[in-house]
Subunit: 356 residues, 2 copies
Amino acid sequence: MNTDVSRFDYSELAQWAQSCLTNSGASGEVARNVAYYLLEGDLLGFSTHGLIRLLNNCQWLKDGKSLPKGQPVVLSERAAVANWDAQFLPGPYVVPQAVNAACDMAKQAGTGTVVLRRSQHVASLAAYLTIATDKGMVVNLMCSTPGQRAVAPFGGKEAVFSPNPFAVGVPSSKEPMLFDISFSMTAAGKVRQAKANGEKLPYKALIKPNGEWTDDPLSFFESPGSAIAPLGGEQLGYKGYGLTLFSEIWSMALAQYGRVQGADDGDANTVWVQVIDPAAFGDKSEFLKQVDSLLDDARNSAPADSDAPVRVPGEAALARKREQLKKGVIYAPSTLKVLKRCAEFCGVELPKVATG
Amino acid sequence: MNTDVSRFDYSELAQWAQSCLTNSGASGEVARNVAYYLLEGDLLGFSTHGLIRLLNNCQWLKDGKSLPKGQPVVLSERAAVANWDAQFLPGPYVVPQAVNAACDMAKQAGTGTVVLRRSQHVASLAAYLTIATDKGMVVNLMCSTPGQRAVAPFGGKEAVFSPNPFAVGVPSSKEPMLFDISFSMTAAGKVRQAKANGEKLPYKALIKPNGEWTDDPLSFFESPGSAIAPLGGEQLGYKGYGLTLFSEIWSMALAQYGRVQGADDGDANTVWVQVIDPAAFGDKSEFLKQVDSLLDDARNSAPADSDAPVRVPGEAALARKREQLKKGVIYAPSTLKVLKRCAEFCGVELPKVATG
């Protein structure tokens, strides 16, 4: 454990974040949700998409780039799908609504799908998965960023796509399986982090304008800059490229809101939400048995390193959440600096450090 | 072009394959579909999942491992989903039915999902995509193999999962985008091919029982053998691992038919079919514009190699199909050997070689 880190009491932090948001103009309900889901990202360990994004959220509210209250507009719907315009409502306020609406549709139709245009930045998709898994539902979330070009197609060297996350949540008879990755070799946030820490990336994830592969994060910020390579790299990057197209089509093309419409939308996202009700396919307990069996097969298989048993996606994140709820939420010095700037920006004093 | 290859007239081959299948006991309708979709795999270039699998299909029919005629049984359904028992009907007969049923549901509900247990081997998922895209629908297909363990989880060295394919088809205003990959670093068929040709794999895609990574295909057939690594490899294999779990859960767990039930089912698959009607989300022409824009952005971006423009998934496959329909379907000598064995097994003479 890094001794530089500070820990804060979860409830005090949540209260602080809410006050920051209401001071920036958010309604109570918007503030409660944004604070809760940003913190949920931190609890699960997605620290690049946790409270570090609170300052952005408050700035967007003050600048009119986030809608402080209101509801998404339904543009189109059928029994199992809906297309919403989120009108730049904060992602952590509107995505939970979409997951809940998709759950309701799934109960009736077997699946429920909501696509959302103009959701202000959604932060960590992992934070929304248990909304569905707590109801015994299976969920898949994806999003893309019309205003961002950071990832090259396979065979290319120019940034075309956003580094799109793909997340799934699956109930089991124990903990849910939670999984949240990007379809690219790294995320823009990790490149920024490496640059800030003066480190190289752990492997060559970037393609320079001359076509060379590099682990140098600085190249990403040059003009013209390097592009992030799709998952699979030099040999198998056609897989990550196709998966990236999949996520952009399932979000932007279905929502009918892409880079032509949203070039100037900054960090705002177009989002894909799909919920499946396993009970529509047969007895729910049989579904859980199947999931348990798959996860146990993985857990019980021989590890490559005998000291490191095979883990199921989400295990480490949920353990981190339990630990932080008990002992306090952890922030690295660089994040703490941003929280302090947010406290100042909003005029709400940061809670006292619990430990650290 | 390999001068060793032989070309056959498409219609003559289709007729031959149908006769082989009816001679093995298949109904006319089953024979027509199996012949058509196996050949479709060859036309698109998925040669490990084309007519090379005809002999297997005929053997399964004769051995009672494939049902020669009949219909899948509906186990459960709601407005947008259905769970079918395919009763070991041939995959190329029953999967098109599932895609069509999903299209019908999607027209009503916005999406349509069918999961299928006990589909005899589905061959190439890519072959089924245009059933949906020809109707202006978006489609995603996945499948897993309850009787197969070939892929290790990330952090493991023991085969737990099948090398599961993931395919998507998307209509555009020109050709559809067709994409078909596995979530592992290679497919079992490619390991067999490398072994047969006495070659190494192009990269280290296998993990040996001692935990070492290797490009030696022979290691896969030893006992205990090596396992295929998930997409992402040593650094990012947790992504391919999670995607593999996703595909196994969306197929086997939802269909409620996994490795416990199907351990002895050989090559039979559990299949996930989902169709989405873009018209449920708004005007269909706007959807096509979005897809065109995404694909054109990729096509028009700077290639890493100035002689090799960035391609869209499916472009090469569809060009290969056009060429083969015109000039004849291509078979390598090793495949031709299997076709000859099939001709003998079924007592139906192989058509004359057109060229080669």
